[in-house]
């Protein structure tokens, strides 16, 4: 066996491994699509939301403002005990809902909502 033949055997092995990796990932992608399109869970969950009028997903349960992120209590961080600063790890990732952020109106030049503690005064 010449050196060139040996080089091409390695090339063939590498090509085989790469093609196998591509095939495995492609199978995963197509399998995912089949699972998602045939899944009845989402429609059932949507039905529970409709029946119970739920507004939030149970992504994190450690604090009220990350459990119900769409409806946070205006003064939640200080409601339990004095000096009760927000120390919850999930608060690192959970940003405040856009509707309670103070924003500058380009039309009126007024900074902030009428009362950001209350929420969405338009």
């Amino acid at each position: 066996m010449t050196g060139l033949d040996r080089d091409f055997i390695i090339l063939k092995i590498y090509a085989f491994v790469t093609v196998m990796l591509i095939v495995i990932f492609t199978v995963f992608v197509f399998y995912s699509r089949a699972v998602v399109s045939n899944d009845q869970r989402l429609s059932q969950e949507a039905e529970i939301v409709r029946l119970l009028h739920i507004t939030d997903m149970c992504v994190a349960t450690e604090s009220r403002h990350t459990r119900h992120i769409a409806l946070p209590e205006p003064a939640a961080a200080f409601q339990d005990i004095p000096g009760f600063l927000d120390h919850f790890p999930t608060s690192t990732f959970f940003w405040p809902p856009p509707q309670v952020k103070i924003k500058q109106s380009s039309e009126t030049g007024v900074i902030g909502n009428k009362n950001p503690m209350i929420g969405n005064k338009k």
Partner: protein, 387 residues
């Protein structure tokens, strides 16, 4: 084409001689791609499920705020809201948090008289109008208390009286992302636990006839009634988009960690190549290779290493997220929780995200491989070999 094959074969033979080094690079690279792709698949799945499920959320949710705190909504306000033109129905909600002292967990307690038991995600029977003393629980409460269907459940009401309920239904675990910490009681029972009078509600869910009117009606409610907070369905969706989107907290966190790791890897490559590698390039040039051949060699080196590592990372991320249910990412969202959130993630893989990961992983690596090699390849071969 033949030239490319020969050069790739040459690189692979050369890589076999330095297999430990190449294996190390592919391993680190795969771990970086795995971490990033895991976060991307994780939030994509959560985001997809959230978007689909919350499409049934109330059009408008209204709360009453007094001195910066949420307070009860009186019955009279429900009547006034119902009279606004364009509103289809106003459904008062009775809900609150229930601190469970034996476990230290805080559960979400809701009142409902219309939870049919024929839902596939509910085992046992649901709650019908007129039912009293029964409960439907999420898996969080049942697991932390080692309870099963037909067991008794004791809850303290707002006056510290102990009330007993029979667990007649439970939410099945596939719906955990929605129902994990829920305790559903008949409305009158929930009212006692939460401490509301007969004419009071926690907040209102408002449904309108025409979706295009949601904004107008919410603005009308906001202006007409003092001290209310109005949250529309679009705002709920945008809240979750802010959490799960490409500029969201979870994504940014994953991106930053991966970016730092990747920068270290790329910096190591770009900070210069070793004397041995320079010598190898010098020899190649001395035996007749041109600069373009050397660059082609480095191009195929970059492609083969980065493509292999990216594919391994992507497959690893898929297995981690959708077979092992993101067991490494879950702790980020657990925090100090007593009720651990459970995710039965739907395998959502978007082609756009896969392409994004491929581009982010492959292109910078090829650049980091080729630039120092180009610098070394333009040096005179005799100078390199004598060094």
């Amino acid at each position: 084409m033949r030239r490319h094959l020969f050069i790739l074969a040459f690189f692979l033979t050369s890589a076999r001689r330095h297999w430990k080094w190449h294996l190390g690079v592919i391993t680190i690279f795969s771990v970086v791609v795995f971490a990033f792709a895991s976060i991307v698949f994780f939030i994509q799945s959560l985001s997809y499920e959230t978007r689909q499920v919350l499409s049934s959320a109330p059009d408008i949710t209204m709360q009453k705020i007094k001195a910066g705190r949420m307070v009860e909504i009186p019955d009279s306000l429900v009547q006034s809201i119902s009279e606004i033109r364009g509103i289809k129905s106003v459904v008062p909600r009775v809900w609150g948090y229930y601190f469970d002292s034996p476990t230290g967990g805080v559960f979400t307690l809701m009142g409902s008289d219309s939870l049919p038991g024929n839902l596939t995600l509910v085992d046992g029977r649901g709650i019908q109008p007129g039912d009293r003393g029964i409960a439907v629980c999420g898996t969080g409460f049942l697991e932390t208390h080692y309870l099963r269907l037909q067991d008794n459940l004791s809850l303290f009401d707002s006056d510290e009286n102990l009330l007993n309920f029979t667990i007649t239904g439970r939410f099945r675990s596939p719906s955990d992302l929605l129902t994990r910490d829920l305790i559903i009681l008949p409305i009158e029972d929930a009212r006692k636990i939460v401490g509301l009078k007969e004419t009071e509600y926690s907040d209102l869910s408002i449904y309108v006839f025409n979706d295009d009117e949601i904004e107008n009606i919410s603005r009308k409610i906001d202006r007409r009634f003092p001290s209310v907070r109005v949250v529309t369905k679009a705002e709920i969706k945008s809240t979750y988009e802010a959490l799960f989107g490409y500029r969201g907290g979870l994504f940014m966190f994953g991106l930053l960690i991966s970016l730092f790791a990747y920068m270290i890897l790329a910096w190591q490559r770009a900070s210069g190549i070793s004397a041995e590698a320079k010598k190898e390039l010098g020899i190649l040039k001395a035996v007749g290779w041109e600069i373009s051949d050397v660059l082609l060699l480095k191009f195929w080196e970059g492609i083969s290493i980065s493509l292999t590592a990216t594919l391994i990372g992507l497959i690893g991320a898929y297995i981690h997220d959708f077979i092992f249910q993101a067991s490494l990412l879950k702790p980020f969202l657990v925090g100090w929780s007593v009720i651990y959130p459970e995710f039965n993630l739907l395998p959502v893989v978007q082609i756009g995200s896969v392409l994004l990961i491929l581009v982010l992983a492959v292109v910078p690596y090829i650049a980091a491989t080729m630039i120092p090699s180009w610098k070394a390849a333009v040096i005179d071969p005799s100078e390199v070999m004598h060094a």
